[in-house]
Symmetry: C2
Subunit: 203 residues, 2 copies
DNA sequence: GTCGTACCATAGCGTTGCTATGTCATGATG
DNA sequence: CATCATGACATAGCAACGCTATGGTACGAC
């Protein structure tokens, strides 16, 4: 048997790439391995090339997002919790804008990347719970509403991260859109707005 | 005076770049000028470099989008017309996915690109008209609602163009989100849904 | 007719991602 | 314990990338 691949090298490279991304340094093959003690070939044995490295960086981004969403507590108000997921999603994107852009970058084939599905499933579960506890109308399809909610949030976060929209519009616009979607799904307007605004006020 | 810069060269290069983008060929400096009779330096005199070329390509994309939105007719139903703008936006993005991605690509500084504002202003005007004709509540701020509407549409189109969501979900999800936003802004639900569905059925 | 200006072709620079080649550590096998 | 096969990793070099220095040349002003 050959020498086993060192998983520490994998994590080192991915984390270093994420760090360089956050520091707005160009993530280049040679710059990535410089000072790490490993050579450029390590990138090929571990990731098969730069596209593979980027894929791993995106996975890392989705994993961190999943962790962040997992940290959103369950309270007695399922609509508040649903909105809190949106808040966490937005805050995560704004805190790591370069990573967020990399996650949805042009070359990404998200459908092929396993970790990309976990945050969405979390969202689907939260919608299902809000429906099952009577806040949303019974015929509400959790996947449909979760997709609408995610797409709207992703659109807003994308435009803010890209500098098209100023950051301070994110909370009010996200609140308004969230309330519109959930009221359309059957929640009472006054109650819904209170739940959503409470989620944005905290966090 | 020197020899005047040939505007035809500019258009030639931008259109060729858009063509290569649509054909999924890598848009490279040398590949771009190959066979055109002009040399690589033309890209620098006209655009200052590849980033400048990409900026011009994005402008071209926004110009085409503006033209497409201008082709959306005014009817007696302002909510239908507003939804029709969304339909045209989505169809434009799906018809030219690579160009759409380039328009919102990582390196883009859309705030600095003049043409990027025109489609949005068209949207703002349509929202203002729907409000002024009584379909939306009087206190509705056209820019706020237009931003929500755009962000939601952009999020959906982005995810479809990226292959995350299948293309056939675009019409139903966009319809549902549009209705939710406009009903929240004061339109009657039944009437609104009819207007929006009519816009998607046509086009 | 002369000249200055800026467009543009040519050639070459540094850097990029990648691959061909060689070395070495490792665990299974006798 | 010695041997060997295997795959991880270092080194060196390749084609292609964006870009720039240089020089020729067409154009408009005088």
């Amino acid at each position: 048997m050959p020498r086993p691949a060192d998983p520490a090298v994998r994590r080192l490279l991915v984390e270093r790439a994420a760090r360089m991304l956050a520091d707005r340094e160009p993530v280049t093959l040679r710059a990535l391995v410089e000072g790490t003690g490993v050579s450029t070939m390590a990138v090929y044995t571990h990731f098969g090339g730069m596209p593979g490295l980027w894929s791993a960086v995106r996975q890392e981004g989705f994993s961190r997002l999943t962790g962040r969403l997992a940290g959103v507590p369950h309270t007695a108000d399922p609509v508040h919790d649903l909105a809190a997921l949106g808040v966490a999603y937005a805050r995560n994107g704004l805190a790591h804008p370069e990573l967020y852009r990399a996650m949805f970058d042009a070359g990404a084939r998200l459908a092929d990347e396993a970790a990309a599905g976990a945050p969405f499933e979390r969202l689907v579960a939260a919608v299902a719970r809000a429906r099952d506890e009577g806040r949303l109308a019974a015929p509400t399809d959790p996947r449909t509403l979760a997709t609408q909610y995610w797409a709207a949030g992703h659109g807003l976060v994308s435009l803010v991260v890209q500098g098209v929209l100023p950051g301070d519009v994110l909370a009010p616009l996200s609140t308004a859109t969230t309330v519109a979607l959930l009221v359309a799904a059957g929640d009472g307007e006054t109650r819904c707005r209170a739940s959503v605004e409470r989620a944005w006020a905290a966090g």
